[in-house]
């Protein structure tokens, strides 16, 4: 029986190695034959991720966002997370525009701001894409000064800047 188990192990690991190799080759070939090829090693830095779809769009640093916030320049902060998350806590004065309902709700949120008002979108987490999507959406609506505060809620809170809760039902 020992022999038998040993051969089973050997056989399965050999087969598995072949399967993985075959999948690698198939993956490479299919990727190579695609029009939009994925580079084998991608650039996942912050700048690259925010710039890939629109050259206009720039991330905003916390220091810069803080300056805009405190200068009374009329900069508008927009929270791209769900209303639930917004109600649990958000940047003080920020407006809620959950990305998933952005199309229905956008008019109520932006009808009081002009196109050149600085708009700063944020969500939470380094990898959160909501704020980026929302920023692109607002740019397409004609806003010319949209910035993304990456991982906004976390960095804002950690910096001890003004926050508030439960402003909307």
């Amino acid at each position: 029986m020992k022999n038998f188990f040993y051969y089973s192990c050997k056989k399965s690991f050999f087969q598995l190695t072949c399967i993985v190799l075959a999948a690698s080759v198939a993956g490479m070939i299919s990727n190579y034959s695609r029009t939009a090829k994925l580079p084998l090693i991608g650039d996942w830095t912050l700048e690259a991720r925010l710039k890939s779809e629109s050259d206009k769009q720039k991330p905003i640093s916390l220091a810069e966002a803080k300056k805009l916030y405190e200068s009374g320049s009329g900069a508008v902060f927009i929270d791209a997370r769900s209303l639930d998350d917004y109600n649990k806590g958000h940047i003080k004065g920020a407006r809620s525009l959950p990305w998933l309902q952005a199309e229905q709700l956008v008019m109520d949120v932006i009808n009081t701001i002009s196109n050149d008002t600085p708009v700063i979108t944020y969500c939470d987490g380094e990898a959160c894409k909501l704020s980026k999507e929302l920023a692109l959406f607002l740019e397409n609506l004609g806003f010319t000064n949209v910035r993304v505060l990456v991982n906004g809620w976390s960095v804002w809170k950690e910096a001890g800047l003004p926050v508030e809760k439960d402003m909307k039902k």
Binding site: M1, F4, F5, S8, C9, K11, S12, F13, F14, Q15, L16, C18, I19, V20, A22, A23, S24, A26, G27, M28, S30, N31, R34, A36, L38, P39, L40, I41, G42, D43, W44, T45, L100, D124, G125, E126, A127, C128, K129
Partner: protein
């Protein structure tokens, strides 16, 4: 008794075989279905892999390119019953890796997308998904155990359950 001589099917509780065949077909369906959308949208799947915040940046695109094909090949092998020991081991390793990644991110409260069956879905991840994956893992491990310990026809050229 010569152990190389294959045992008869009637020596074994038939349910052991029925469950193995069902597990094989279920898991092949799961893996083939899961691979399709990711193969079609590697860039979106790369975003999902990135969202897990586990792999180093150099490995994200490679994973997004190869993993869906690995799932497809494993699914096809399970469906056809070819190379069963290797395929059963492969899906078990993958299920363990998936559960580990989901569990780790849920435990640290990360906001991430599953990317399990669709590269572009934006539904969040809940503990139910881990439960579902644990069931898939149990089926995978059953197939491994079946091939390693239960399948007494192993040396018969016709045994490919």
């Amino acid at each position: 008794m010569n152990i190389v001589n294959p045992g008869k099917l009637s020596d074994m509780n038939p349910w052991i075989v029925y469950i193995a065949v069902s597990a094989r077909l279920i898991m092949s369906g799961v893996f083939i279905y899961a691979s399709y959308d990711k193969i079609m949208n590697p860039a979106a799947f790369a975003e999902a892999v990135f969202g897990y915040q586990i792999l180093p940046p150099q490995l994200i695109n490679i994973t997004a390119i190869v993993l869906p094909w690995l799932e497809l090949f494993l699914g096809i092998l399970l469906l056809s019953g070819i190379w069963m020991p290797g395929a059963a081991l492969g899906i078990s390793f993958l299920m363990i890796a998936f559960i580990g990644a989901l569990f780790y991110n849920l435990a640290r409260g990360l906001d991430f997308y599953c990317g399990c069956f669709s590269a572009t879905s934006t539904t969040g991840v809940s503990w139910w998904i881990i439960l579902r994956d644990l069931i898939f893992l149990a089926l995978s491990l059953y197939l491994v155990a079946y091939r390693f310990f239960l399948d007494r026809k192993k040396f018969s050229p016709l045994s490919n359950y």
